[in-house]
């Protein structure tokens, strides 16, 4: 147990984290890409076309993992922010802020692919489907966190402030989703459930799981890379940075 705790403590030191991130980010990127490539290949060429939705069904293999990532990253961001606020751990503040752009990216993918999938299904580029509407609000929450982080000069205060906002956001997100679902049932009578109905044939699942795993691993790589960059920016001018840059 002791070596694990000591490793955690050491990881909080900026130079140690820099070395750790520099080493593991590329590995995570490559691994993530490979798993995603396997998943996408399966999604495009192996899985048969859905009898209801035809080939457009293949978009699900990007849309669903991205949607899950957009939610999971938001929750993780709030967890990092909470740890950073309670225990004043600088690395957790950095990690929380590094989560935001990646989460926003996945949210954007979810919205775009949802819209593209919707065009042949609904006939329009946008429908106020409760899940897509909640995704859109989630995007605004992400952008709010990023905007707030950029608006304050002191990086630590900025991370704490934006981190607090992410915690408030995570607490209210279920309420927002619930309210939008209620609103949708009130105003639209029937709901065209885009994603609920098709029971997936077991043969269709492996590429989906591959995409879920792949996006998670990619996220780790991106998180480490962004955290490393932020870490360097905050430590700019320190001796270890100058030494490391000289030898890079």
């Amino acid at each position: 147990m002791q070596p694990v705790i000591r490793w955690f403590h050491q990881l909080g030191s900026p130079p140690t984290f820099d070395r750790f991130a520099a080493r593991w980010a590329p590995i995570a990127y490559v691994l993530g890409l490979l798993v995603m490539a396997y998943g996408l290949y399966g999604a495009l060429f192996v899985v048969p076309a859905d009898y209801q939705q035809g080939d457009s069904f293949r978009i699900l293999y990007i849309h669903v993992p991205s949607a899950w990532m957009s939610m999971a990253i938001f929750a993780l961001m709030a967890v990092y922010a909470a740890i950073g606020l309670i225990w004043r751990i600088k690395l957790c503040e950095i990690l929380a802020m590094a989560c935001a752009p990646i989460g926003a990216a996945f949210t954007l993918i979810t919205l775009a692919t949802g819209s593209i999938w919707g065009k042949p299904m609904w006939g329009t580029w946008w429908d106020w489907d409760p899940r897509l509407t909640t995704e859109l609000i989630l995007l605004f929450l992400y952008l709010g966190v990023m905007g707030l982080y950029n608006a304050i000069d002191d990086r630590r205060a900025a991370a704490r402030t934006a981190g607090f906002l992410s915690i408030v956001g995570v607490a209210l997100l279920p309420v927002i989703h619930w309210s939008v679902t209620w609103w949708n049932s009130l105003h639209q009578g029937q709901t065209i459930s885009l994603f609920g109905k098709s029971h997936m044939d077991p043969s269709m699942l492996p590429p989906l799981w591959a995409m879920v795993v792949g996006t998670h691993v990619w996220f780790i790589g991106s998180l480490l890379a962004r955290a490393r960059a932020d870490n360097l920016k905050r430590e700019a001018g320190k001796a270890w940075v100058l030494k490391m840059a000289g030898t890079e």
């Binding site: 080939d55 457009s56 978009i59 752009p101 593209i116 991106s222 360097l232």
Partner: protein, 55 residues
Amino acid sequence: MMSYQNYVIAAYAVFGVVLAWDFLAPRLQLRAQLRAARLRATREAARSAAPELTR
């Protein structure tokens, strides 16, 4: 059933473009930071080599 192919291509293209940005943005930041650090190191070295004016 019209050609869904274009939609599928569009969706996958969005995925690729956004992930490409997600990969490039931190790389560019890192490159800028390391470059700035290198320049700073050279300036520091030059400053310590040339003696400061003394009274």
